[in-house]
Amino acid sequence: MPETSGAPRPDPSLPVNAIEALDVVKTYHSDGSQVHALRGITFRVAPGEIVAVMGPSGCGKTTLLNCLSGLDRIDSGVIRIGGTDLSSLDDDARTRHRARRMGFVFQLFNLLPVLSAVENAELPLLVTGMKAAEARRRALDALARVGLEDAAPRRPAQLSGGERQRVAVARALVNQPDIVWADEPTGNLDSQTAAEVMNLIVALNRSEKATFVVVTHDPGIGARCDRIVHMRDGQIVEEETPVAGTAR
């Protein structure tokens, strides 16, 4: 049985930190030159927290998100997710870990154009081995939670930008993950739709108790998070707790 049907969070048995990064270094090598994307990042996120990662373009926000989520490898340091050291897992184990405990929302929505909204949403469940009928039921439920139950049979090309991102959110949450990684989730949306999507994320964070790490340029989005981490040149330069964040 998939683990996604587990107990509601936050679970007292979970470690104090949902995410823990210690002295993480990541360098890209290209055509003989080196780009130091992350220079010894140390960073912790508590279960159920929404953290915004902000900073200028090229400061390493997306690289940090990719490394923390296990999509990319690090050169040195330690990353623990829910207490599990990612470097101890091989590629398959990391993939399974992602499938069971994580969800993703991307700036470009990254829905698969050949699948309908509900088929996109049910993918994370199918890869965990859930039966098709059950996966379909839960995917429809997830779409209903983001207000898109009527869009289930429609393909991404037939949806608006906001609808697509809501489908992406439904896909991210369908397996009831511990952590949702959101890379510029509103970067491709107009301000009104962006606000709607952010409302949705915050509401789901409350109802689902999932941890959210949101990479954003938008101070308005950052202001609605529990904590803002500012990055520059591959390092965390400042952390702040916005006033609005506590009240949201």
């Binding site: 990719n66 999509l71 470009l108 698969l112 965990t128």
Partner: protein, 1166 residues
């Protein structure tokens, strides 16, 4: 090889080179007018090297197939002509002499003085550089040491001065030998004799002449040549020979002062001399008619003629080369068509990859035509490189596959020498490059039709939106009108060119042109052109090109109509629909008028598709329209002939129908599959209910039941359809098992889901790949099934003519009563139930046959049977004159009535492969007739003696009967004697009692009569041996056809490689949400499996059903093929399995690449 499909190769090369030049000029025009566009187009080539390599591989496949076909033709042509030149050596012509008293199967002897008289009476002695009088006659022989025997060793008697003209006889050791060097008991043997009898220098050989044995010592081994005993019967029949001085041979044979062959060498070397053959024949024939020569001939009661032996052999070799090239090209047509689809696909994929870039280009002001030109520039450069690679690889494939294959099949019968001519390379290159250019130009036109907004936003095109009427472009309308006129003028020019080329001499052609100019003047030549146009149809009918010209005109008019209508802004669907309907209708009418099935069926196939286009324009869903059109076309092609034949009556058809049927069935099934593949996906779909999983099996079962119903309705027997039904039963069971397995394999669901999603989302690509596989598998299934059934048909008792053992007697040791002789030498004759004798086919002199009421006559072998044969004949007739109650009654009538004859079924055939050495075609009986209402009269004449007789054909021998019995015109013994001379029944047939081991019995006869030069063989054994040769060739053809599978596999592989790049971001997403590397790789493998299996299945079903109908068509069933229809399931499974396996293998690398895409990087990819 000098012609293809009857068109001179030089003309083909010229036309193709000119066409390629036009293509290159078009690209040069783009370069000169739009240098920037040109640069944009070609910049991708060096930038994306891996992609360039992939595209070149895809583009070269058609050229590869074409080049391989031409190289095969060249190789066979060269090998056979080389063997001919090697065997005939310097001899270009031979003088053949006839004597009414001599046995017909033995070259008659004549005084050596004939040669001297001829030599002194030729008007132009400088034309000849050698005269070769000699003796060549078969004798039985036995090697003393090895005790091996040979019943028909060619005994050559030749004198030293004759041999000295060619510098001596060539030895296998490279030295030259002369008969004068032989001791009184010494002979030379040729290499065949040395191999067959295990002879070498110093060995001893006994030969029998006039019943007396003579033993000789072998002095040396010579090369195989006519002058060392390699007789007629073609270079592929190894013949042993011994050589001795002429006077000794004359003495042994009792023919003192006589020879039986006079060979003549023309001026120049062995190859150059043949070009003078026509001139030499005229000079020699005149010399034969001079009183001095006639006096010598008449004194011996002889008549003589000149045979251009080498020229005929070279012509036959060239015909063989041409037939093989044509066959390989026809077989290759499927692969070429697949290759064209692949090129189309590659460009569509390229366009899809560059969609955003193209959209932006259009948005910033690039016109649609400019976009097309950019693609053409890029495509042409790929094309020029790919055609070069294709030609080179095609030569390699031909040398590797065909040459090695033929060597294995033919063995020592014919030395195969790899060879290719520059002209063939040029034709292959130009043809491949032009075909590719046309495909590139069409696909460039298609990809430039994009919706700018959809392209920029990378959205799917609004395919469902009805295309509106566009702005009129008068330039295009003008171009269309120009095309229409030039099409018609082009046809006129074609007619004039053909008519001029048909004139025998070049000077005459110029005189005709000059006369026309003189009569009409420069301006009036235009008037003449108009007159020609007016009378075009009449002229084309008179010249027999009605169909070709009608088709050319239809194609020109159709293309012109397209261009004009598009120029007027009419939407595509509204152009395709009506033009297709008109074109289809015109083709049906043209076909009915020319009595040809091809255009009728092509027209009938076009109409449903055209209706579907119209229906789409009127708002019908594309799934409904195209599915119905596809299904109608499938039904049209897969219905039995008895159902469809009633519509138009009997129309002529040929090999081209094979290609058309394949294409129609492929396109139709690809449409049905592509538009309904989502229904097929029910097999695996996650939400599928259990009962739905049985649907494919139920559908296949229903199809089988429908086939059974139609088959039974059309008169087939259940037993006949057994194999077909078993096949469908197995397919249904497999479908059911796969369906049920789908429920049990839940962990594969994520891979299956994505593997289905992509092919279902891009119908065009899926349809193209399915079509590529279907086309090739279809051709393989049809070829193998037809071969299997013909093979079975030709091993029945009908095939043996009712005989079990064939006994060939030696002309030098005649044996009037074979059965009595067998009893004398201790053979148990109680095993013999019946016997019969015929004059053998191999030595039958061709006489001239002429249909009553016609003025032309043609060569044909004339034979007769003895009374025993007539009494015991079980040789089946496929058509018999009314009034003869049984086949045997007809044979008995033949023996008794000098006015009747029986002929073989091949004399009724026509078409490109019917023509051969004997090209008489009987009028008055159709191949499908079973009863001869009015026996047609044939005039038989000996061109040398002038004797003639008229006979009525009362029977046609079944096509199944083996060649040695089943070929020739049989006349009564009296008529034969009157025309040719006393018949010698040297070919005897025995029918043994049941339970006799015919092979052992034949060996017993041969052993008992070896010193009489008798050969005996089991008839069925010989047939099996012949079949193994033909099976070998079929295997080569099939292997060549299977090359097409490479195209299909390459298509899948190209798509898989491209899709890794295209779907990079998708792969990133899938990996992010939890797809492991293995599942990603599995997705790719399953996707290619899904498409390949659909294509392969469609090809198998279409091929088997079409062949079933073909086998039961009136044309084949009239030939009494009494075997139940069989399907070569094992071969089909092999090809299907190999095709599938290779598709998997070639998807492995892209699948592996896909699984290793770095996730974070892929997610950033746009």
């Amino acid at each position: 090889m000098n012609s293809l499909f009857g068109i001179p190769m030089n003309m083909i090369a010229l036309v193709l080179a000119a066409t390629l030049a036009v293509c290159l000029l078009a690209v040069a025009w783009i370069y000169l007018r739009e240098r920037v566009l040109f640069a944009i187009g070609v910049r991708n080539i060096p930038r994306r090297r891996a992609q360039t390599v992939l595209i070149i591989i895809g583009l070269m496949l058609s050229t590869l197939i074409i080049s391989a076909a031409f190289t095969t033709g060249d190789t066979l042509n060269y090998s056979v002509t080389k063997a001919t030149y090697d065997i005939l050596g310097p001899i270009d012509e031979t003088i053949q002499v006839k004597s009414p008293s001599a046995a017909a199967n033995r070259l008659p002897f004549f005084p050596a003085s004939v040669a001297d008289a001829l030599k002194t009476n030729v008007s132009d002695p400088s034309l000849f550089d050698g005269w070769y009088p000699f003796i060549l006659t078969p004798v039985p022989g036995r090697a003393v040491e090895s005790q091996l025997t040979k019943p028909d060793i060619g005994l050559v008697g030749i004198d030293s001065p004759t041999v000295a003209q060619m510098g001596g006889l060539p030895g296998v050791d490279g030295r030259r030998y002369s008969p004068s060097a032989l001791g009184p008991d010494e002979v030379y043997v040729n290499a065949h004799a040395a191999d067959a009898l295990n002879l070498g220098p110093g060995a001893h050989l006994t030969i029998v002449t006039r019943g007396q044995p003579h033993t000789f010592t072998v002095r040396a081994v010579l090369e195989n040549e006519l002058l060392t005993g390699q007789r007629g019967g073609g270079p592929n029949v190894p013949q042993s020979g011994i050589v001795m001085p002429l006077d000794r041979a004359q003495s042994l044979l009792g023919e003192t002062g006589k020879i039986n062959v006079l060979g003549i060498s023309n001026r120049g070397n062995d190859r150059a001399g043949v070009t003078l053959s026509d001139q030499a024949k005229t000079v020699l024939s005149r010399a034969l008619d001079t009183p001095a020569v006639q006096q010598v001939l008449r004194a011996s009661n002889l008549s003589a003629s000149v045979e251009t032996t080498k020229q005929q052999a070279v012509h036959t070799a060239e015909l063989l080369g041409s037939i093989f090239t044509t066959l390989f090209l026809v077989i290759g047509l499927f692969s070429i068509a697949s290759g064209i689809m692949l090129i189309f696909l590659i460009f569509v994929m390229l366009a899809s990859e560059r969609k955003v870039e193209m959209g932006i280009s259009r948005a910033v002001g690039m016109r649609r035509g400019q976009l097309t030109q950019t693609y053409i520039a890029e495509g042409m450069l790929y094309d020029l490189g790919a055609a070069l690679v294709g030609v080179a690889l095609g030569v390699g494939v031909a040398f590797g596959l065909v040459v090695l294959g033929t060597r294995i099949v033919v063995g020592g019968r014919l030395p195969i020498v790899a060879h290719v001519t520059l002209r063939s390379l040029l034709v292959s290159y130009c043809l491949g490059a032009v075909l590719t250019f046309i495909t590139v130009a069409v696909s460039a036109g298609r990809v430039s039709q994009l919706n700018i907004v959809a392209a920029i936003r990378d959205l799917p095109d609004g395919g469902a939106i009805r295309e509106p009427f566009r702005r009129r472009r008068w330039g295009d309308v003008g171009l269309g009108v120009l095309l229409l006129v030039s099409g018609i003028v082009g046809v006129a020019a074609l007619v004039i060119t053909f008519a001029l080329l048909a004139l025998p001499q070049r000077s005459l052609r110029w005189r005709v042109v000059a006369a026309l100019r003189e009569t009409f003047g420069r301006r009036k030549l235009l008037t003449l052109a108009v007159l020609v146009l007016g009378g075009l149809d009449t002229l084309s009918m008179a010249l027999g090109w009605a169909l070709l010209l009608n088709l050319v005109m239809i194609v020109a008019i159709v293309i012109a109509a397209f261009v004009i209508l598009r120029g007027l802004g009419v939407p595509w669907l509204l152009v395709l629909g009506p033009v297709g309907l008109l074109g289809g209708g015109a083709m049906i009418l043209a076909g009915i008028r020319a009595q040809q099935l091809f255009p009728v069926m092509a027209g009938l196939t076009l109409i449903p598709f055209s209706l579907a286009f119209l229906a789409r324009w009127l708002g019908a869903s594309s799934r409904l329209g195209y599915s119905i059109a596809g299904a109608v076309v499938l039904v049209l092609w897969l219905l039995p002939e008895k159902v469809t034949g009633g519509l138009f009556g009997h129309l002529s058809s040929n090999l081209e129908m094979f290609f058309l049927s394949g294409l129609a069935i492929t396109v139709a099934s690809a449409l049905v599959i592509a538009f309904n593949a989502d229904r097929l996906a029910l097999l695996f779909g996650p939400g599928t209910k259990t009962w739905q999983r049985f649907l494919p099996a139920v559908l296949l079962g229903m199809l089988a039941a429908a086939l059974l119903g139609v088959g039974l309705g059309a008169g087939s027997q259940v037993g006949d359809m057994r194999q077909l039904l078993i096949g469908f039963g197995v397919l249904s069971a497999v479908a059911a098992v796969i369906s049920l397995a789908g429920t049990a394999l839940g962990r594969f669901t994520p891979a299956i889901k994505m593997a289905m999603a992509y092919p279902l989302a891009s119908r065009f690509r899926t349809g193209m790949i399915v079509a590529m596989f279907t086309l090739i598998v279809f051709s393989l299934v049809v070829m193998n099934t037809i071969n299997l059934n013909f093979g079975r048909a030709f091993l029945t008792t009908t095939a043996t003519g009712g005989w079990d053992v064939a006994v060939t007697l030696n002309p030098n040791n005649p044996m009037p009563d074979l059965l009595a002789k067998l009893g004398q030498v201790g053979v148990d004759t109680s095993a013999i139930a019946a016997s019969g004798g015929v004059t053998p086919l191999r030595s039958a002199s061709p006489l001239k046959l002429q249909n009553a009421g016609q003025s032309t006559s043609h060569d044909y072998p004339v034979r007769t049977i003895d009374a025993a044969y007539a009494r015991n004949a079980q040789t089946k007739l496929q058509a018999r004159a009314a009034g003869y109650p049984s086949d045997q009654a007809a044979w008995e009538a033949l023996a008794a009535d000098p006015g009747v004859a029986v002929i073989d079924a091949q004399s009724l055939q026509s078409g490109p492969f019917a023509a051969g050495e004997f090209n008489f075609r009987l009028a008055g009986i159709k191949p499908t007739d079973t009863v001869i209402g009015h026996p047609p009269e044939v005039l038989v004449r000996d061109p040398i003696t002038g004797r003639s007789a008229a006979v009525r054909v009362i029977g046609v021998i079944s096509q199944e009967v083996f060649f040695d019995v089943g070929f020739g015109l049989y006349v009564s013994p009296q008529t034969y004697q009157q025309l040719v001379g006393p018949p010698a029944y040297l070919q005897q047939y025995l029918r043994t009692k049941p339970g006799t081991n015919n092979t052992a019995f034949a060996k017993q006869i041969e052993a008992a009569l070896s010193d009489q030069g008798v050969q005996a063989q089991s008839v069925i054994g010989t047939l099996r041996e012949q079949q193994s040769l033909s099976r070998g060739f079929n295997a080569i053809f099939a292997a060549f056809a299977a090359l097409g599978l490479v195209v299909g596999v390459a298509g899948l592989s190209v798509i898989a490689f491209r899709s890794v790049i295209e779907r990079r971001q998708h792969i990133g997403v899938l990996r992010a949400v939890g797809y492991t590397r293995r599942v990603i790789a599995l997705t790719y493998l399953m996707e290619s499996s899904f498409v390949a299996i659909l294509g392969i299945l469609a090809g198998i079903v279409g091929g088997v059903v079409l062949t079933f109908n073909l086998w039961h068509s009136s044309a084949l069933q009239s030939q009494d093929l009494h075997v139940a229809f069989a399907v070569p399931w094992a071969s089909i499974a092999l090809y299907a399995g190999l095709g599938y396996l290779f598709s998997l293998l070639f998807t492995l690398i892209p699948a592996r690449n896909a699984s290793r895409v770095p996730v974070a990087e892929a997610l950033r990819y746009e």
